[in-house]
Amino acid sequence: MKIAVCVKQVPDSWAEKKMISGLLDRENVDAVLNDLDEYAVEEALRIVEAHGEGHTVTIISMGPERATEAVRKALSMGADNAIVISDPALVGADALMTSKVLATTIASGGFDIVLCGTESTDARMSVVPAMLAQRLGWAQLTFAGSVVVDPASSAIQITRVTDAGLDTMKAQFPAVISVIEKINEPRYPSFKGIMAAKKKTIEMRPLATVGVDAVPSWSAVNDSTPRPARAAGIKLVDGGSGGNALVDFLADKKII
């Protein structure tokens, strides 16, 4: 099996984020591997480990050159190699463009399975995996809480966690899978893993080598304004009548 895992580098969740001329300021914040993508990396490694030798995990990321830092973390967890698509023309790319670049890269790589997180913590769109399935014409197995792969018969079965319940879904290779954060516990890179990752290949691809023309994004920001921070509220220590005070507050605000 050849497995690809799409990972994104995102600003640290705790970092204060700002917009500069309609785009997220990515320069002045700490950047990390999107934590929801760690579950996808972990699941890919588990699939490979469950089926012995001869299977590979390739990390694919689109982003600025410094995205290699996040990719290196995925490699230190145990992935084999990586492709980073980085190009000045991709600055501010929307999900349509991102999925096009990723899908074209995946299509040329001979992969059987692509794994994704369910959401990037910066954009929070939760659309790229579905877009990849649509573009590639592959089976979509998203929001998986468990994944079982049988390489011999090219079959995959997942449980999809939906708002309504659990769906068991099946498909044949090739497929796009996204995994939820309850699926596994991502491993910490070991010292050995970190050292080994330094020698692994990260292939840098400018857009021209991917074979996609940069197109303008089809959604555009008109304006962005910081909202006033929430004013500090009332805080009291319960001395036996905290519940009553809460009720008074509800009544005061006409909620009851």
Binding site: A95, M125, A130, T142, A164, A175, S224, I255
Partner: protein
Amino acid sequence: MSEVLILAEYSQGIVAKTTTELITGGARAGQVTVVVLSDVGGGEDLAKQITQGPATSVLVVESNDFAQYGVAAAAEAISNIVAERKPAALLIGSSAFGKEVAGRVAVATDSGIITDAVDVSAQLVATQLVFGGSTTVHSHVSHGTAIITVRPNSITADVNPSSPAMSKITFDASAQAKLAEVVSSEPFVKGGRPELTEANIVVSGGRGTNGDFVAVETFADVLGAAVGASRAATDAGWYPHALQVGQTGKTVSPQLYVACGISGAIQHRAGMQTSKMIIVVNKDPDAPIFEIADFGVVGDLFAVLPQASDGVRARKS
């Protein structure tokens, strides 16, 4: 006048309130056609429930492929309609399913997409609250049909009666849309409480409940509220994942959110900090959740909540 398509949302045969919110937003920009995707034979019962809000017509699309092939089949049916009618906009609720459908339709019809809007104007400018609600962004789609997913509970529904004209078509998914198949479904047992993302009030419990949600549920019930949970509570198996609030759970934006025994990790806040009002009950005065509370009680939830429940009951009687 241009046309705006709305995807009706329903669960267990009941059309959701979100549908009327989408109709209301969409009608600002054009004549609204409500698309109902349903099993064969089920569409008319759903369509009949669309009696509120400024909808012009209801288009029922019936196919058993929707249940069997999920997102891919739904997206294909809608893509066909969008390709044929070229509406100005397509509005879909911002659920996990809704966003996936929107994403596929955007690719299939070469249209721009905006997710998690909290408002839509007559010019189809979408308002989003980003970076944990700290920034307001206005944006628009510049190519194709404006595909916008809208968060439940954001647009005030126009509930004036209406009687949209109904038409019905059938749909067969292509082989491309049948690559992933649902082989079985296990629905969550739903209680009698309001839907989490639609509720005006949400009362949530976290690790501080220690697995005992009775105080939280009782308080929710006296307020007619939905019950939510932090990830610590869903991970422990105390509450179903479907009721998790946060980054990897639901995003809620009720009039009032009550966080009980929840510390306020950034991932939890990501799902609730745009609530209009926030009340906190937590015994740790330094819990970060107090930073965003309009009203906070430092205290034991097992003492504060029962007293508050009694107090609300007393005032109501």
